[in-house]
Symmetry: none
Subunit: 212 residues, 2 copies
Amino acid sequence: KKVFGVIGLGRFGSNVAKLLAEAGAEVIACDINEERVKAISDLVSKAFILDATDEKALRESGIANVDVAIVSIGENIEASILIVVQLLELDVKEIIAKAATSIHGKILEKLGATRVIYPERDMAIRLAHSLLIGGFIEEIPFAEDYSIFEIKVPSYFINKSLKDLDLRKKYKITVLAIKRGDNVIINPPAEEKFMENDVLLILGKAERILKL
Amino acid sequence: KKVFGVIGLGRFGSNVAKLLAEAGAEVIACDINEERVKAISDLVSKAFILDATDEKALRESGIANVDVAIVSIGENIEASILIVVQLLELDVKEIIAKAATSIHGKILEKLGATRVIYPERDMAIRLAHSLLIGGFIEEIPFAEDYSIFEIKVPSYFINKSLKDLDLRKKYKITVLAIKRGDNVIINPPAEEKFMENDVLLILGKAERILKL
Ligand SMILES: Nc1ncnc2c1ncn2[C@@H]1O[C@H](COP(=O)(O)OP(=O)(O)OP(=O)(O)O)[C@@H](O)[C@H]1O
Ligand SMILES: Nc1ncnc2c1ncn2[C@@H]1O[C@H](COP(=O)(O)OP(=O)(O)OP(=O)(O)O)[C@@H](O)[C@H]1O
């Protein structure tokens, strides 16, 4: 059973710690701010008030004896980097770090963070797309530049087939599935005509989807 | 063509403003902090240094003559609420507000914000799920019971083909695409063998995916 360490109990860190603890996982949390540690101490297995840049305090708290460490310090980029480096020296196998800017994130990746997260930027991308793409419902990034989009069928697709619209050549997008009422048509054939109220699952680049 | 107003240029607000502007939309941005306004002024149509709680300044800047306003002020909950109320009085039709806590968000909804966003909390939920379900990366609900899942290839799939695994009959799931390095294989053929480090895009019911 995995042990999780959360360093930094801001909005992101405290939510991660609570969710993991609610799901029954063992969570050790710490923050330099006493109030934030107190707010969470009943919910997690162990909670410490400590400055995680203090390598001795970090080691003595045992917060480095975790399988996965989540470092969630955005404002103080220097502290975030120092803490990740110390966790690597203490042999923590999986380190997930929140980054404030892409430069911050690149540094953390180069130093060896397993995964870097950009909560505000990723939500900004989804919001911008939902505001710009008519009928936008959801988006998940899949590969460099590619995302899976769930969108309402564009009005000018209705009664035309995938073949008529020549989607793959013209827009370089692929319709993976169509939700029609209670049915899901997976890998729709080229002759399949779109109907009103269809919901489409599309793989493609955001700039292409914006042009639909 | 819609006009967007972004009030508050922190990590979330500045990213939303830039993305909308890059996509060709008309964006008016403002912040009380001069540096942040300067950092973005070349990228947007208009940028103002102003205290958005000052109703007169807000009105005179014209930032309330937008179709959609995005209020992205997290730390100062009072300011965020006051600004949303002023935008409602100035008749802005669509107001999207970032909330720091669920109470903050409930207040904004009750007052009439069109949509409330919780970037840190939502990303924390996604991270917690991906940490708790081995290999889980992403999920979007698609139809009643069905979701699209992005997962790391289960170890026992490796070197077997879709046909060998009989995924559709045995697990009732469909592999929509495989991400392998920089390549994306869409609608993989039945003979396609899975390889280490593949990331799979799967359509199926959550209970089935969890059994993988
Ligand atoms: N050296 C440190 N050791 C331990 N905790 C720290 C240290 N420096 C900052 N913190 C804590 O990390 C938490 C998050 O920090 P900060 O507010 O800088 O990040 P943020 O990314 O803006 O947070 P949020 O998740 O709220 O967006 C704060 O509670 C802060 O007290
Ligand atoms: N009254 C105000 N008028 C205009 N801008 C303001 C006002 N109050 C705060 N801001 C600006 O809003 C921006 C975001 O504020 P803050 O840092 O409180 O929010 P946040 O939610 O923590 O941001 P982030 O998006 O970085 O997570 C800051 O650039 C700040 O200068």
